[in-house]
Subunit: 118 residues, 4 copies
């Protein structure tokens, strides 16, 4: 079954059973997304590349990072639903556009091009 | 086909063809995720609830918000891949935990409980 | 005494005494700034305008929000120092530019203009 | 003159002349802060430590980063005003607390301690 559709169905039931729908406006969910992204950043902020790699290979960092990344996805799915947006279609449309904007033969290995991708 | 697996495959090919893999460390991708979340917040920051609803129903706001939400998803999928995390499994595990932490009959309609969900 | 200069001096001594300087790269401090901004967003995310106003007038919300706003300032001051940027001069230069970009008689009361301010 | 008080006075006049006060609720300003922090992260996201140092020493990166850091400060000052918070007092109180929580002789050079500082 499609993974995002399945998460959306579970989240919808979860919020309905708790009558939390009225909190789930697009603005509030965008703020929640910002909060969770901040928690993910905080997990990695003081570690250098080597320490991140080691921590993600095993140990508690891996679990905390997985947990924060999951929270980002859960709020993003709920944001898209509240905003009436088809997240998966929008994501494919964005990759299509990026393929036109950054032709592989021109963009290859270029940090400058990549930076513009923003 | 599973939506996240399909996006991951497209993004992997996209980065490989442009030799952008070396930019895609967990820290860099977490920062990119923060940047895109910020762009989503910026789209909604000055609008009240009514203006958001109207703008999302039609018009350019809807397209811009869909585009930013897509960017968040694309970087989240790439972050999870770089971090070696199964995003969908982590998301289901998180919903499981939230179902235990917030029993429907206790949490119903409570902003206080919901706030703690953070 | 100038408030930002005084905070900078205290933070510099704090980090030096703990030998934390090597963690304080511009990238790491930008991530920490993102983390603290996320905590501030999380404090307000489920509250409507009225509940925010009430919570800020008294009670624990006020203290938590003051604490998170302080963290944002502390990391911003440290980021500017690590990046070699004169934060106050940059802020005045930005207000100067905004005064040219948004002439008061044209921008008055306009959400559209304001939105572009981004 | 105190730097934050002076910025606050300029920003207050700027918003009053444009009648933008009604947009400046605590929630909206927190979102704007999230947006600007995201722009700062985006400037540094693909660069490694060496490229950041080189870019900040001269050239356009330095100007863009100064501009984004200034935006963060400007929205933070406006957020604190809208929230009725004394930003400078809160920042000193936070440093006081951190001095108790992280005694210099115990926290010295420790990434673990520092990580907890969050």
């Amino acid at each position: 079954m499609d993974s995002i559709a399945e998460l959306r169905a579970r989240l919808r039931a979860f919020a309905r059973e708790r009558e939390w729908g009225r909190f789930h406006t697009p603005k509030n969910l965008a703020m929640a997304l910002g909060g969770e992204t901040g928690e993910l950043l905080a997990e990695l902020q003081w570690l250098d590349g080597e320490a991140v790699a080691e921590g993600l290979a095993h140990g508690p960092l891996r679990d905390r990072v997985a947990d924060e990344a999951a929270d980002v996805l859960l709020y993003l799915v709920q944001f898209a639903e509240a905003a009436g947006i088809d997240l998966v279609a929008a994501a494919h449309a964005k990759i299509d556009r990026n393929e036109s904007r950054y032709p592989a033969d021109l963009a290859r290995g270029s940090a400058a091009k990549h930076t513009e991708l923003g």
